[in-house]
Subunit: 319 residues, 2 copies
Amino acid sequence: MAPTDVQHTLGSYRRATVVGVGVIGISWTGLFLARGLEVTVNDPRPEAEHEVRTGLDQLLPALADLGLPTGGLTDRLRFEADLATAVAEADVVQENGPERLELKQELWALIEQAAPAHALLATSTSGIPASDIARSLRQPERLVVGHPFNPPHLVPLVEIVPGEQTSAETVERARAFYAALGKRPQVLRREVPGFVANRLQSALFRECVHLVAEGVVTEAELDDIVTSSIGLRWAVAGPFRTFHLGGGPGGLPHFIAHLGKGMEARWRDLGNPTFDEPTVTLLTEQARQDFGDRTVADLAAERDQAQIALMRALDGLPG
Amino acid sequence: MAPTDVQHTLGSYRRATVVGVGVIGISWTGLFLARGLEVTVNDPRPEAEHEVRTGLDQLLPALADLGLPTGGLTDRLRFEADLATAVAEADVVQENGPERLELKQELWALIEQAAPAHALLATSTSGIPASDIARSLRQPERLVVGHPFNPPHLVPLVEIVPGEQTSAETVERARAFYAALGKRPQVLRREVPGFVANRLQSALFRECVHLVAEGVVTEAELDDIVTSSIGLRWAVAGPFRTFHLGGGPGGLPHFIAHLGKGMEARWRDLGNPTFDEPTVTLLTEQARQDFGDRTVADLAAERDQAQIALMRALDGLPG
């Protein structure tokens, strides 16, 4: 994509500040750079710059596979340890600090004071409501949750979660910004702990832990069951559409009318595990058996490559 | 695939009998035919033959997309209303009758008497344990659950669920048969109601219903969240692998040690909906808004096309 295209697509966004560069912050940084933005990174840890540069090197193959430019990205990257200076010229601030309310309130009070009045202010938090963080702000209408599904340079979803006081304008700007980045933003209608994707992930994982703890399947067997059935389904059609298409010509209403009671009975039968000592030992041992001889980085690269192949296949379809 | 290849791959299986031809039975019939088997269909309903022939016509595009031969399939198809006659020469019997224990016990007692001693005996049941059905058999070691994820011609998974008395030989034969058909069989280590894939699907769907009932998202929004995040992930890496890769270099053990308590708290916060009147009304209305102007058959064809594209993309990857 040529720079002029990027500026057209991203409109008025030219300078992004990424606050906090753990895994999520590094991934945002890579995506922002690949989409043509100038990026200022702020992180108080002295090792942050090294981690970002190393992390970006690791992202490059995936960015290239996604069809994004990867040459000279770091020409537009700078590091600024002073938060007020780092955000002073930002068109957008994406914060990825530790998940502690008081810390985020402090960060955002500082950012609000130092950032331009036009800057879009978004937090990547996966668990703290914007309503709570914004209590430290003079203009709480400016802050919104822009929660990516990890890693943000790769997974399309960004959950936009407005706080009680977030303005409709802020929400709309956030949606347009993430869409221009090539993401798939989704605005939640209510703040709910964990937002949507992580809640759904937790709901499924609870039953996964139960079935492994009960000895019905191993972790590897369960993973294989998921990738060869519901995972493949849910990559192309969500749960409601799936049941709509599984209900015969009458669709979801027919499905609920005829199978709703059976589904309720199934729900009552689902497991309720805890991470007690025997369960943790079992899960840990099986994970070491399955993955022990390969690094997480290698496995993740393999997984990401497969996922990009899927995304390309879907992009090539009509509609 | 040339006939000799098929016979080589499927070994001694040449004649399959499909008992009961609802949606699942028709799909098995199409797959068996496309894989070169001679198929005898048994179903007491007078409209069964018409439904099978119509249904097969609708399957052909998907079978072709899967790279399977689709010419002259019905040359190897016959209909036999008498069950004993239908199974008399079968190498494999795949039963897809109504989900009623007494009926399945009657069917299988008859099949056991009439089928050759070497025939593989499999039931597609999604909910009745082989242990219960086999109480009507003289040789309960011969019966096994071969539960496909709908539709079997398309979704790779087949859950093989041995009953208490199913022999290891029967399990191994079933695994080899489904693998030779191009499916991805998975043997469960214990009988559990709903088996694995449907239990996981139910667990996720419970939270889906909760989030829509609570007004956090609509059905369409939730579906979009799933396809753009966890669905895409779970198509290439199951839940355990996903959390292993989300736990940093320490993998799943690190993840559980550091985030297990938070996950347990999330589990306690998950919803517990029922299909009460307001919920059913809401779900029905939203489904009609989302899908009302298109037929289930059209939507399903579109979904299946997308899924085949994904399967092809994954097949093209190393490993």
